[in-house]
Symmetry: C2
Subunit: 493 residues, 2 copies
């Protein structure tokens, strides 16, 4: 075994030397202490030191790195800001971690054609900050928008509070430049509305680093709305709040955002940021409308009428931008606020057809009792994207495992009502088992064929997003061991 270890060390040394012929020495990290900051992304329950980290700053360098790794058969994991929540940027101990952190320049803002050309490491919020000078902004706004990068947003097809009206990342892209596994540079999409050929732009978006390395992104910009106001509506019953969501959408209004928080979330948040939320409510809705002054006034009246008819116990409308920011402050602080009520939390991400909101929430509460783990719900109600936050204490033996099992059941609930196992966080390593439930063999085979069309030797981010046949066999065995499908929970509802 000592021989094998020294073989590995030789292999690594050779690779470091080869990479140093492409990049300056300080851009090739290989000592354990230098590698540590890259051992996980936002899903910190999973950690792994990479063999080597590279920090290129030109497209030519990325192409050369990919050519080298392809020839040497070394797997590569691309990484943006590392804020992802499904472990999509988890390194491999035998692989190169390719950080795009130095690709942080805004290359061009074209106000006439309402678009911005960006390096992939540009922070999401920095786009809107730069576009503001032209009265424009970039719509998708993940909670992590201060830190997360546009390249990572593309890789995960990120959403945000405003994607109900303005769509996910995929709906706000025009063009990508992508380096393939063997170092070719592809231009995908076009500044025009549509491009001929197969739609590789959408295919690449959300592909979690499995198909290529994104080295340039052109996004659509939108005109900043003239006005925006938020309605805060409280309910003494979660189910009623869920029905109000359906009623708002059913009234023909498309709010800019329509968020819901349940009682445990409200109380944790209020204690933390003092947003003025009614702490005795079972649920609140935050409904933002934007547009011209007149349009906003009309929609505020319409939404107010709907939530009152649906039994809201308290309805407030933001009077100015300061109050609007205050109303949102609680929602935005919801994740960190969980620290007030539990040492750890696990943020789930599943999506369901809107009309099943009340039913699935009931199921989540029933499972909470069954597993003995608390839960708080904060979510994009308008598009049915749930974020149950399961509360646990990692220091208590067995709690993380119980939390993961509970989380898995929540995903299965989503599937059973025709939903999906992810809304905007991606599959990564976290939900790869549940991909076996969402897709049948023919569908997974098709995914593998697509993967092979881009990366025949499986060197790009292997082990993520799309499970192998073996993986699904193992998951099935584990699953049958843990409990049987379909769930009794749903049948009781």
């Amino acid at each position: 075994m000592a021989v094998a270890q020294s073989d590995i060390a030789d292999h690594k040394s050779q690779l470091v030397r080869d990479l140093q012929s492409i990049l300056p020495a300080e851009s090739v990290l290989h000592r354990t202490e230098d590698l540590a900051p890259f051992e996980c992304d936002g899903l910190s329950a999973y950690r792994q030191l990479p063999m080597i980290v590279v920090l290129p700053d030109t497209i030519d360098q990325v192409q050369a790195i990919m050519r080298l790794c392809s020839t040497a058969g070394v797997p590569v994991v691309a990484r943006g800001a590392g804020t992802g929540l499904s472990g999509g940027a988890l390194p491999l101990d035998n692989g190169v971690l390719l950080s795009l952190a130095r690709f942080n320049r805004i290359l061009d803002i074209d106000a006439d054609n309402r678009c911005a050309r960006l390096q992939p490491g540009v922070r999401n919020l920095a786009i809107s900050e730069a576009a503001a000078a032209y009265g424009l902004y970039y719509a998708p706004d993940p909670s992590s928008q201060i830190a997360c990068s546009i390249g990572g947003n593309v890789a995960e097809n990120s959403g945000g509070v405003h994607c109900l009206k303005y769509g996910l990342t995929v709906h706000n892209l025009l063009e990508l430049k992508v380096v393939t596994v063997d170092g070719n540079l592809l231009t995908i999409g076009n500044r025009a509305l549509d491009a001929p050929g197969y739609d590789l732009l959408a295919l690449m978006t959300g592909s979690e680093g499995m198909l290529g390395v994104i080295v340039e992104v052109t996004v659509k910009l939108l005109p900043s709305p003239e006005s925006a106001r938020v309605i805060l509506a409280a309910f003494d019953d979660v189910e009623r709040a869920g029905e109000a969501v359906a009623a708002i959408i059913g009234a023909g209004i498309i709010p800019a955002g329509l968020e819901m928080m349940d009682g445990p979330a409200i109380r944790a948040v209020e204690d933390f940021v003092h947003a003025g939320y009614p702490t005795d409510a079972a649920a609140i809705l935050l409904c933002e409308v934007d547009g011209t002054e007149a349009e906003v006034a009309e929609h505020i009246d319409a939404v107010t009428a709907v939530v009152e008819r649906e039994g809201a116990t308290d309805v407030r409308v933001s009077r100015d931008d300061a109050e609007r920011a205050l109303f949102w402050s609680g929602r935005k602080a919801a994740f960190p606020a969980m620290g007030r009520i539990a040492p750890d939390y696990y943020c789930m991400d599943g999506t369901i057809p809107r009309r099943h909101l009340a039913r699935v929430l009931k199921g989540i509460y029933a499972l909470s009792e069954e597993y003995g783990q608390g839960v708080a719900n904060v979510f994009h109600a308008g598009d049915g994207n749930l974020h149950p936050l399961i509360l646990y204490d990692a220091n208590n033996p067995g709690e993380l495992e119980r939390t993961e099992a509970y989380g898995g059941k929540i995903l299965e609930l989503c599937l059973e009502v025709g939903g999906t196992i992810t809304g905007e966080h991606g599959v990564g390593v976290e939900k790869i088992g549940h991909m076996c439930l969402q897709f049948n063999d023919a569908e997974r085979d098709q995914f593998h064929a697509i993967k092979a069309a881009f990366d025949p030797h499986g060197l790009l981010n292997p082990g993520k997003a799309v499970p192998t046949l073996n993986r699904c066999a193992e998951f099935g065995a584990m699953h049958v061991h843990n409990g049987e499908l379909p769930h009794p929970e749903l049948e009781r509802l």
Copy 2:
């Protein structure tokens, strides 16, 4: 040769018998007189009788047909309503034409979740007609919406007048059921906003029958706007009209539709439908805004101010729905109206970044003089999607060839300003050569790899949409023969 002919006849007879074991005899057409109606789609300059036409009416039958053809190595061309304008449904003399005409049922309208589940042969307009009972409609509205089918819309990623605000077909889809070349049934996409795994939904959309046979489509429905009005603005200069388009968009307004017609188009149309267009204008814009009453009123004022500032010589606003329909009647009749000024016309379809509108129009006029073929322009100005209608007489020797050469030059103009060779009509057989100019070898290789991932033996609609290496070599040779890139036309502007 007689032997070979009889071999072919035997092969056909055997295939007919095999297909008759799957379908009732009247659903397998094989006599020349029965095949004739299928010899072309909307691009009638290209015609070819298929070997056999099949008319299945269940998904099981489509699966069985695909299994049979796959095993026998027989190519298959799927066809919707046959209204396509790029020859995407042109049959093969050695192939089966699979008509989806009998898949014409609306399976479900789910008003709560604002979606409709449809068989692929459902007509585009029939969706909105059925959804109207719920105050909903389906947004993409190709000119052929009375006749074209939703399956064909998906295959071509069709647009329409309202795609500026509401997007192309791909932006209005939730889920597809697709039969693969070897007869598997895949469910692609999801009723939720996003689905995990690679985005096969967008990949399949616009893939022109090359990747699978669409057998079910779930579309998004939108609430019918409370109000809609149209502004008609006339200009005495095409360039000014183009600048007004940029100014409207630049003012932060996203009209529901923003169309432009030039002088020759205006006069042909007015002579035909008497829409009241100013026949002395060099160009008119039709700008529709929709939304709530107040929003529409605000936007009408804003657009009026912009077009007046940009030098409009005549500005009219529709006073009621009847006048709105009148304003649109001319635009909608533009294609048939061409019959008033020329025996034949060839409708081109290219897209350019909006700000190059004036420049490219000048290039189109210069080429018109060079080739000695008249041209009228009718187009989706808001999203830069041009539809130059080249006028010709097929009975004059050489005119069709000259028209095609002129059309090719227009596509090259689009490419040179960063546009694309198609906006919404697809590539089909028509523009396959120009795909060699739009994409480089690595990009076309990637397309072929995707194709192979779905259809390794190339049996689905071969010869369309993505050119082979040989095809590009031939096109390059032809191209150099006809004239050199880059064009002197653009340099003169």
